[in-house]
Amino acid sequence: MLRLEPRPQPSRAMSIASPVIALALTILIAGVLFVVLGKDPVRGLSMFFVEPLRNVRGLTEVALKATPLVLCALGLAVCYRANVWNIGAEGQFLLGAIAAGGVALYVTTQGIAAPQWAMTPVVLVAGMLGGMAWASITALARDRFNANEILVSLMLVYVAQQLLNYLVFGPWKDPQGFNFPQTKTFVAATLLPNLVPQSRLHIGFAIMLVLVAGFWVFMFRSWRGFQLQVGGLAPDAARYAGFSGRTALWTALLVSGGMAGLAGAMEAAGPLRQLTPHVSTGYGFTAIIVCFVGRLHPVGCLFAGVLLSMLLIGGELGQSRLGLPNALTGVFQGLLLFLLLACDTLIHYRVRWVRQHPTAVAS
């Protein structure tokens, strides 16, 4: 019979192979699902993994969708490594969009003339601050009141959504917009400049790549990053070494809030160019999956972000080209995460085939 034996040391090879195995298993199950639905499995899978990458336009769309995912995931990686379970990245994303949108709207309605190279950074920083402010509520609740950060951050997501609704239906509504819930379109100076002509890809993508490198340095080459990780892995040892748990908490939440807020700002000032009730399609939650599939590692998050972006776009294509149900994407995402966690056990355990011997009777 099969038995799980603890390994003396966690296996390095498995910690890289695990996401690949999980992905392979997900693909397998996906193929089976396609057959069950009566669709050609190869065509179905190609919708997700090939079609999105077929031409330049497709590549830019994948990169565009991956940008907010990776940004959020970078911040969440820091959080989870510090054992701070921020589930509210979606809310921080929305507040980032609101803050950035607010600044952009002010510039637009007041007719402030300023060059793009000055205005756009202001908008993005505003977004970061918005996300950080929202995350700080969670930090305060945990720091001063010991409230569980999972629940507080999550409840704040629902609050953030209603706040966006309120603003977009009310004080920020475009007066020339026939009472529809959307703000004025932001003036060009506040928008993100394009990276690839004839596409929607903006410099946010480049910023994201720089941040991936930056986070790698922070997490693996900086003292603060080291403290955060130790605090997450061995809180008692960290305390003994004098690493402040409180600093770790605030750093983790502010960093992840800022990143999510930046992502939100990029959505609002990038492809959307205005605020509507539909700024986010669940980026904050998908980013959690990206984070885990990326093994909480900045470079891993980059690859995982691209992968999940392909899954999401593929789901859309599968729907319009093959008639696959839209909900399939959600199943794949959840399945991927589940299988990943299951495969992770192989890092700490070995599978052994043990033959059962009848116990020898002594004497």
Binding site: R12, S15, I16, A17, V20, L23, A24, V42, R43, L45, S46, F49, V50, E51, L53, R57, E61, Q162, N165, Y166, F169, G170, P171, K173, F178, N179, F180, P181, Q182, T185, R200, F220, E267, G270, P271, L272, R273, Q274, T276, P277, H278, V279, S280, T281, R295, H297, V299, G300, F303, L307, I313, E316, L317, Q319, S320, R321, N326
Partner: protein, 381 residues
Amino acid sequence: MFSPAKRSWLKVALVAAVAALAACGKEEAPPKQEAKAPEAKAAAPAEPFKAAWMYVGPVGDAGWTYAHDLARKSVEGEFGGKVKTTFVEKVPEGADAERVIRDLAAQGNKIIFATSFGFMEPMLKVASEFPDVKFEHATGYKTAPNMRIYDAKFYEDAYLAGVIAGSMSRTGTLGFVASFPIPEVLRNINAFTLGAQSVNPKIKTRVVWVNSWFDPPKESEAAQSLINGGADVLLQNTDSTAVLQTAEKNGKFAFGWDSDMSAVAPKAHLGSAIVDWSNYYKKAVKEAMDGTWKTERTVWGVKEGQNDLAKIADAVPEEGKKKVAAVKDAMKAGAFEVFTGPIVDNAGKERLPKDAKADQDWKDKVDFYVQGVEGQIPSAK
């Protein structure tokens, strides 16, 4: 944790996986093309005209999207093999919509219908890139040389429902389960109230906002709270049957919205406000096919057969039924305008002078409640 060597293994693994699948995908493409070519030679007639629909909700919602899809099917029925239709459902109204529209256009669809106002900006952007494709946007207000708008007169249905509600209500209080405070919904609330007041001038309407188009538990709760507050006839602007079911549970009355919901609640159902887009869709596709398509704004109602209040219950008193029939006939003759002055808002300000008939602009900008509707519009200035 990730040494450069291990990281490159990961890269290799992922790239290999993608490449393998890419190879699979590409291999498949050529055979299909070969198969198509001989087929085309044998068939000889022109490629079918491709038309696509984009929905914001699921096709099975028995409401807004369902009505559009029924009409899409009737287009297929009308043109037979000459028109090939596709649809994409549950498209979110944010940045993703643009990608879907672009993909539909790139796939060879020559006319694309977007059935929610949130698709307006994305559609405008894509329209500028595909000058040969015709774009149609429902319930919006922006146009382009190859993009036009269409809408229906839901407020006519709401008015007719109001007439029935006015004749059925014993408490004199009506309830409205509303989705979002946009002009269309405000028009419907006002039309409902005006219709009821034409039968019983003392009618009051209470409104509860659920901030969603389709959320059955919330709609149930909203309906229940309206009933708790004394309303005995309800109308909704949301898409599920929850309001009707709650009304039935409490022994009150309600209407179906966007589709025939009479089977859902036999005792509570007073009528269903339905919309039939098939005439418009057939016209649009035909115009696109024979080149007579032009940018305009089309708003059809009861007169053109696009809106109707159907399956009126037997329980409605004769008086009420007669009045509804009379109003319907007047609408069909084009002689009845729901928003005819004097119309005063519930703060006392006159919005339309006596005998004046509201024009499209007035109707587009409705941002107030008429007298008799209680409360204030959420986030109103």
